[in-house]
Point group: C2
Chain length 556, copies 2
Amino acid sequence: MNETTTINPNYVRIFDTTLRDGEQSPGATLTSNEKLEIARGLARLGVDVIEAGFPAASPDDLEGVRRIAKEVGNTPPNELGLIQQPPMICGLARASKKDIDAAWEAVRHAARPCIHTFLATSPIHMKYKLRMDPEDVVEQVREMVAYAKSYCDNVEFSPEDAGRSDPEFLYLVLGEAIKAGANTVNIPDTVGYTTPDEFGKLIAGIVANTPGIEKVVLSVHCHDDLGLATANALAGIQAGARQAEVTINGIGERAGNTSLEEIVMTLHTRRAFFGLETGVDTTQISRISRMVSNFTGIPVQPNKAIVGANAFAHEAGIHQDGMLKNHMTYEIMSPETVGLHRSRLVMGKHSGRHALKVHLAEMGYELTKDELDRTFERYKELADKKKVVTDADLEALVEDQFYQTGELISLEGLQIVCGTMGMPTATVRLKSPDGQLYEHAAIGTGPVHATYRAIDGIIDLPNTLVEFSVNAITEAIDALGEVTVRLQTENSEVMARKSPQNGRNYTRTFGGYGADTDILVASAKAYLAALNKLLIFSGGHQPSAATLLLNSKKEV
Amino acid sequence: MNETTTINPNYVRIFDTTLRDGEQSPGATLTSNEKLEIARGLARLGVDVIEAGFPAASPDDLEGVRRIAKEVGNTPPNELGLIQQPPMICGLARASKKDIDAAWEAVRHAARPCIHTFLATSPIHMKYKLRMDPEDVVEQVREMVAYAKSYCDNVEFSPEDAGRSDPEFLYLVLGEAIKAGANTVNIPDTVGYTTPDEFGKLIAGIVANTPGIEKVVLSVHCHDDLGLATANALAGIQAGARQAEVTINGIGERAGNTSLEEIVMTLHTRRAFFGLETGVDTTQISRISRMVSNFTGIPVQPNKAIVGANAFAHEAGIHQDGMLKNHMTYEIMSPETVGLHRSRLVMGKHSGRHALKVHLAEMGYELTKDELDRTFERYKELADKKKVVTDADLEALVEDQFYQTGELISLEGLQIVCGTMGMPTATVRLKSPDGQLYEHAAIGTGPVHATYRAIDGIIDLPNTLVEFSVNAITEAIDALGEVTVRLQTENSEVMARKSPQNGRNYTRTFGGYGADTDILVASAKAYLAALNKLLIFSGGHQPSAATLLLNSKKEV
């Protein structure tokens, strides 16, 4: 089905590229499972299009997009009738046959597949990056858009670095793309330096001068280098664009992309001013924001619009002025609008398995029987230690459960001695997939360093730590500590990833997550989770491959 | 000296309110020392006005502003002639004599003192909060602006909630304020929901219709609830405003304020478009951003414009395309422009005290002899443990030094045993100001919990932990761990703080910071630092007051 113009002229399509442009954030490598989980969340959120990845980047990336196309691309996300059809699933491709083949291979099983191809049109890119004459650029756009169209009804074309392109040339290229079959044309501010006035004028110029523009959807894609991403996208929408390309939490390279939550809530809360609407279920915003933040390990600052921890908070302790009968005085968006629940539902030591299941379902988590069993076990251990198990604790348990599934090497025991005395020592006991136990003790500059050295003494997987972070604990200090670790490796066996913008390979970053009341146990679990992920990407799907890495001299 | 109009019509004054509006961020209580340090940094940065606080909030707040007025308000910040005069020092006051008296008392010793008073002008605020008729609001504005002017040449007036005020009424009130002597009028978007178009029109309307507006500086003050703070301020500036009220890192209540760095760098990098300039030394941006983030404990997300960790980074490992001869392809702001140094200067085990002093001076730190001695000691300890001491390590040592200065109770020893075995145990040894040692051991749900219970067994200062956070480590895992802790207390002896917007008292939050290669030692130090701060605010300036809190049964 050809989906050319939006039926409602006041409807703005939300094109989410968290899994593609967002994943290009430094340090944000996601596993195939994590991407699928996020895609499910995006469908629940009600985005119109999910750009699920860049299939030509690697076989793994292609497979990731394919899984999403098959499942999320065919499941209507909401039986209540709120959202009627599965989201469109889009794959990015440079303007080459090889990339477009890969993109089609990945998205073809979706009910509503889409190929998004791009080519740079600014003088500086054409000269220094593409090394192509403008006429050749036009020809390649014609050819490749037509090639994509031969596969797929829905084709989007982006003139990369449109912001610095010659406007007349831009109209020409866009007109040719439309003739060749593109039904969405997307205008990116690749460098991120445009202002709302300029970008609005650029879009208005395109609307006024591009042949065939009235037949297609005009889209905008902005970056936040000067803090103007949302304002620029809005200016483009006001000038006639009817699709916004966005990411959750505004993640992306450098200062990131336009935030989905900012665009959606601006249009939502100011609909009297803009007269526009989206298809997003705003009550899902809070949850998907946390999921993306946890999986990517990219934190959201407290003073981030809409989804920051303080977005709805006043200084703790400010007594609401008794005279203020009207709460509209300071706070127009209600926390409930974005899915934040003011009252914390808490469970205690005596809540049973069924109550846990029901409560998790209310929070939006549907676990398999095995997952529920394991979560319930850990929940009981936690409830024994803590007076009250909060929703935040439960979320951490579920996330941790998600990360431990499919683990190859597990933590069986950890013992730490440390402090100001000066010889931090860690003893670890690990279990390989075939059940063999290994122990090792090591000294470090601190307990975490000692732990990692002890683990390294058993698992021989050279790596570089690029980040170690602990989620801020905002409840009592006996709350679960959550640790995220990110590693890189020089191991050439590990599949490198190709960057769409410059075609070069770059090193993946592997993140691991762990949650425990003991911050050192959490640190150990996070490191192991990252190593396990590295193992999987190294081709270590076979348990025996993992065993080979274990230093057999340490056998217990 | 009356400083009415800016001499250069293309100059935009930067009015920094990090220490006032920024400090209203949940959790951001700063000590008097921290505020002074930040004020020094703001002067080095080259802001035109420092709003140093709300003196009527409490005697402590008044004293904090007074210290800044006396020192920073009289020191020309840059001998190189770049910045010729000390910044204006401003105190906030509600429109009452008592508040204005306090503000004058605080700022009077500055070379360029200023009083900033405000009163709400929107129907909803006048009706529900002030419970005043519009005529009475006008009269109070007249009276109070004149009263402030009787003290001080420089008076700023803000119509609170201007965004929802009736424009005609706004012109009237502003006209009266100007007649009564205000030489700056500031237009806030208090609720944070306006769009650039609307706010630009509001400012344009004020410029066109307010009697006397041409004689004063028109200022804008925006909030980021929809992610439009920078764009709204820019729209106001384009419509004729020549002062922007901003905070470092955009901190402030809820989603925060317009970021100083975003406004300054937008005007700077796009000066060909805007034709405007500020007096800010952009190379100081990076450093003040880190200082504010460390002192307030409010982290900056990686994808924050200008000052986020990834603002200048591409995915680690992307090989720069060899064909890209021109680096302008993707990155226009250079890291050096904002003071980020690409190459890390590292010092090793054999670098001497003088080299350390020189290196710290290059980084912008000038320590007293005692501070340098202590920092050098810790530096040597660290260099013994680590191969390479980086600039980040040095910064953490200096910050830690800053926090430990003036400590009442210090950490003399810490011993931890923990892990999966299940009985995390901490033993602490503390020293009181009079040299007495105390020891206690405790069990917890994890090593940090055990440590805090052990400390609580000695120091009797009931408190609630509202946040425990660890700075992400982005170097090797043997780097210094930095921990920030935030506490609150119900102790009524602790001076409460008054909110300027609603006059109610609210509980302070006390932050403590600690840095050590051992994350648990860092956690202990951070907790102690917060408790010491709480002691000071509880009136515990006398060492004996601190001793009384120690449980004498634990004496060694």
